[in-house]
Symmetry: C2
Subunit: 133 residues, 2 copies
Amino acid sequence: MNIGQAADQSGLAPKTIRYYEDIGLIRPTRGGNGYRDYAQTDVHKLRFLQRSRGLGFSVEECRQLLALYEDKGRASADVRELTQAKLAEIDRKIRELTGLRRTLEHLVHACHGNDRPECPILEELSDGWPGQA
Amino acid sequence: MNIGQAADQSGLAPKTIRYYEDIGLIRPTRGGNGYRDYAQTDVHKLRFLQRSRGLGFSVEECRQLLALYEDKGRASADVRELTQAKLAEIDRKIRELTGLRRTLEHLVHACHGNDRPECPILEELSDGWPGQA
DNA sequence: ATGAACCTTCCAGCAACTGGAAGGTCAAGC
DNA sequence: GCTTGACCTTCCAGTTGCTGGAAGGTTCAT
């Protein structure tokens, strides 16, 4: 199948698929006309990539996961470890964003939002912010 | 003051400060030796940038905020709007990350984590995942 | 006077794509 | 059989927000 169809079936943009080929993630065969030809197994791998990228794995981590996925002798403990590290990272991101959210919300509430030039948001951005020295 | 001191006082790396100058965010004067010379107002702006970047505003948004900050006739409603948009974006990110976290946690729990090759994580990454078609 | 610790500019690269130009191919409709 | 338009190809450049390094100038303490 052509790249367009592979894109439709995997949920990735054609450009992205070509990029994944550039960096050596998947290697489709080529037809006589030079067009890339994707087999079902290729599409499976593309979906795999689409999912794992969507779950926050970096492309390098996806490469590892793909290798583990293709290696029938792999240990599932490796995969579990990778996933758990990712989980911790996601928790950290959520914590950071939540703190940030609290600060911004405070700023929005403190701001009267009218047409006068005084603005607590800008003042706090320049002088300091709540709960911080 | 030299760039190193400005860096210390603003919490930004010297490289970052030069970059901000490159893209036209701040313009320090120069001494006879060619060294950048930062006044206190420059350091204030740098701190302002450091803070707003840390709060998740993009550099372009920081440029807007800085313009508003410097413009005595600005309306605080503008700032409030920018901040509220940012808040909504942060909420969206938190929601996404929370969903992602749920999925990954399910995967970790489903994986026995031993040395046998079967691994539910990889299977779900390739075939679909819980709560999703 | 020598060495370290600054400072300068410029060039290159990171992730992970995305956009666009210039051109080849294919399938449908007239 | 010819055109039209949608596809496909490669390559080059840009995005965001820096960061690293090279090659060289300056300043300061010893």
